[in-house]
Amino acid sequence: MSTKSDDPRGLIGRRIPRKEDDRLLRGFGTYTDDVEEPVGTLHAVFVMSPHAHARIVSIDVGEAQQSEGVVAVYTGADFAGRVKPIVSDIEQPGYQPINRVIMATDRVRFVGEAVAVVVAESRYLAEDAADLVRVDYEELAPVVDVDQATQPDAPVLHDGTTDNVLFQASYKTAGFDEVFAAADHVVQDTFQSHRLAVVALEPRGCFAVYDRGHDRLTLWTSTQIPHIVRTAIANLLDWDETRLRVIAPDVGGGFGTKAYVYPEELIVSFLARELQAPVKWISDRREDLMTSAQGREYRFNVALAFRKDGTLLAAKAKIDCNIGAYPGFPFGASAEAGGAAIYLPGPYRMPHYAYETRAITTTTCPSGVYRGVAAPAAFFATEVLMDRAARELGFDPADIRRKNVLVAADLPYKNATGIVYSSGSFDTCLERALEASGYAAFRQAQTADRMRDGKLRGVGIANVVEHTGQGASRYRQRGILYVPGFDAAHVKIEPNGRAIVWVSECTQGQGHLTSFAQIAAEQLGIGIDDVTIIEGDTGQGPYGTGTFASRGAVVAGGATLRASQKVAEKIRRIAAHVLEAAPDDLELADGQVSVKGVRQLSMPIREIAAMAHSMDPRALPDGESFGLEATDYYDPPVASITNAAHVAEVSIDPVTGLVTIEKYIVAHDCGRVINPLIVDGQIHGAVVQGLSSVLSEAMRYDESGQPMTGTLMDYLVSTAADAPDITVLHEENWSPDTAGGFKGVGEGGVIGALPAAANAIADALAPFGARINRLPLLPSAVIALMKASPPQR
């Protein structure tokens, strides 16, 4: 089904500015640190390990306890036996589950791991006292990278495990070996993507207010998963879930790093009950850089096998993921390593695939599901190899992709891991992006004169897919037990005819309050201003999963659509009774229910709402109950595959090695677009995050495991002066699998940006025979690539 969502009467598909903007623009947002503090609020500051790997010999909190304003100082021993450890994985083949105590008691495993927490009357006083906690450590050998961690004599980091490989899996299609061995041409290399900090602009933090009369706790926390946080607190603190309310208020960016349950959330909740006082903890940037789940330190050894004519036959991958000191809850050890293997096949006809993948623990900050998870690095490997294959086999990089990319006749296409691509516009997006970028003209000019203005210039293409909107079955299949997978919406029309919709997700800037209102308003036939979306509060609305992995539009959008349709059906039944028509003959639009094609036979939805609340003399039809509300849960049956083609054009200053992105085009297909303005914003932001990771960002650890980039002066995030303008072209092949036809779009921009930029830089450096297989490509790395071999003009 290929349908444009531009029904002039519909709200879905319209470029509507956001409903949530007004208060944020006026400075009236309420992020966690902005929540009004009751008198007596206490402030927690954590004492962090300065060592990557050490035994805790002793902790002396005496002086800290005597410090001005200090109420309490807790160490790991104070929580032992009172809070259960976090267990992120299950007993199943390939996993070595570990227990993480919520505060280190005997051993620390990364710089920044908490060993004590000081609670005082103010943040300033708590920080003063934290400096007075004396910890005696006995340093142990650090294990910084996957090679060190997998040496036979490497220290085993976790009790109860036999080595540092916490998850491994392998797979091979039937007949792989024969096909691979018989291929005419194989391109192969080892690609290293580098550790990144996520840098959501609001650092992590949480605030717990305890109500001693009711034994109830409200926790405001900067999270993407409030329901999962609540369930985890209930389980680990042995607390009745009905007495816990977790609120994700305005959240200043998430990008996956806030899709984890963190020890601090458990500790702050514990302390509020223990001390019978409100307790707040807000990390500073240094702490956030050291402790919030990082991402993307992966090594991909990939080989692609081709026929002479450029036909892709098979891929072989060996993948090692450095997951840091602990697997995070709820995604566990397999999130990156499992995803890395599954994402790799991409948008090509490729019948054979074999992989081995491992998740390896090290003494670095825990790593996790940063935007795109392993897909950006997977496509960095495969798309760079695709370009190399093109050069070696004598094709233009665009032509080798044209030869292999999926076309309409291939669909539905089951890829080599069994994932079905049911709809998409893989070839169309490729052609549109090439055309919009002026690819052919660029190649001509490049052939005529490579350095026409003293700059090295190159163009790079990336064809990518994004696995979006994964539901319960996908998480169960991947062995991830603690992610429910479904989401839900409750739609309620009030007596005045206006609607409130409670959604089980929460927004970190993705525009849910507008997109979901568009969906609901269109079904209910009322205006977008007549719909209010409420999210991010476990005390209001149904249970659900949360916002990550490009699932909001698909799963919560689908739930909103279905719950709204249930209410719309009831409106039709009641109106049919009044208008003496069949419900199926009625349509809802512009605040009216009318007989299709007979607009004078109509009544205001407001009057139906009044009838449903017994505020109108007219009776409801026999058997119809009062109220005008409905809940629905939505669990998408399969992952929806979003596709995109990116084309980047770069120039490089041959003296400084500085790379400038001159042009950037994305042609993408996320199915039915709910709000193109918001989708453009998602893609722009993701592309720039990806480019930033290629050109400037790098989380560095020295050989002792010490993070070297602990401020934003060392960890360089792209600014407006570094980032390009971006053109986004929309294709809309509705998903036949999901409610509403939506597919997700949050991560695709990052996924495409790494390979597109890497290929453009490799193209610009082609005269030097440069082979790119590592990130980042800082000016120093670019100069090194130029020096590696002399120009071959």
Partner: protein
């Protein structure tokens, strides 16, 4: 650490304020905790991200790198001064129409910086805008819509919309 308090008198968003404060209190904490002006956000605490940008005596500055005690006699404006009620300012409206904010955490800093830019240069080029914004980090938008919004606001102001605010 001396916690002796000192008196400061200043003007914040047009209101005269007198407070007794500790010398080490940061202006960002003073605004957020003492005055409950929580629109000014702290994204890094070391002067890089720009989320805490406010106007001090007519020039933008990092409130996370400024001690409140230095502000005796100063005139300070925060994001809450731009449109406390009624219609949004021209720049705010342009941010809304062009989807120049996502999570919104950095937005107050961008608005204060953009206001200063357009007061100084009413018709900035894209390059000028990007350079002027280079002290503010946004992690969500990729800056594309922010740049477009500021250009649109400049056009609106050139057409005679009343005030940069």
């Amino acid at each position: 650490m001396s916690t002796a308090k000192h008196r400061i008198a200043l003007t914040v968003n047009g209101r005269k304020i007198v407070r007794e404060i500790e010398p080490r209190l940061l202006l960002s904490d003073f605004l957020r905790s003492e005055l409950r002006l929580t629109g000014t956000h702290v994204g890094c605490g070391h002067g890089v991200c720009g989320a805490c940008t406010v106007s001090i005596n007519g020039s933008t500055a990092r409130s996370c790198l400024t001690f409140a005690i230095q502000m005796d006699g100063a005139v300070i404006e925060t994001v809450e001064s731009l449109a406390p009620r009624g219609p949004l300012s021209v720049i705010q409206q342009a941010f809304h129409e062009h989807h120049a904010l996502q999570c919104g955490f950095c937005t107050p800093g961008f608005l204060m910086t953009a206001r200063e830019l357009l007061a100084r240069d009413p018709d900035p080029s894209e390059e000028t805008i990007r350079t002027a914004l280079s002290g503010n980090i946004c992690r969500c938008t990729g800056y594309v819509h922010i740049v477009r919004a500021i250009r649109a606001a400049a056009r609106k102001l050139a057409e005679g919309a009343s005030h940069v605010d």
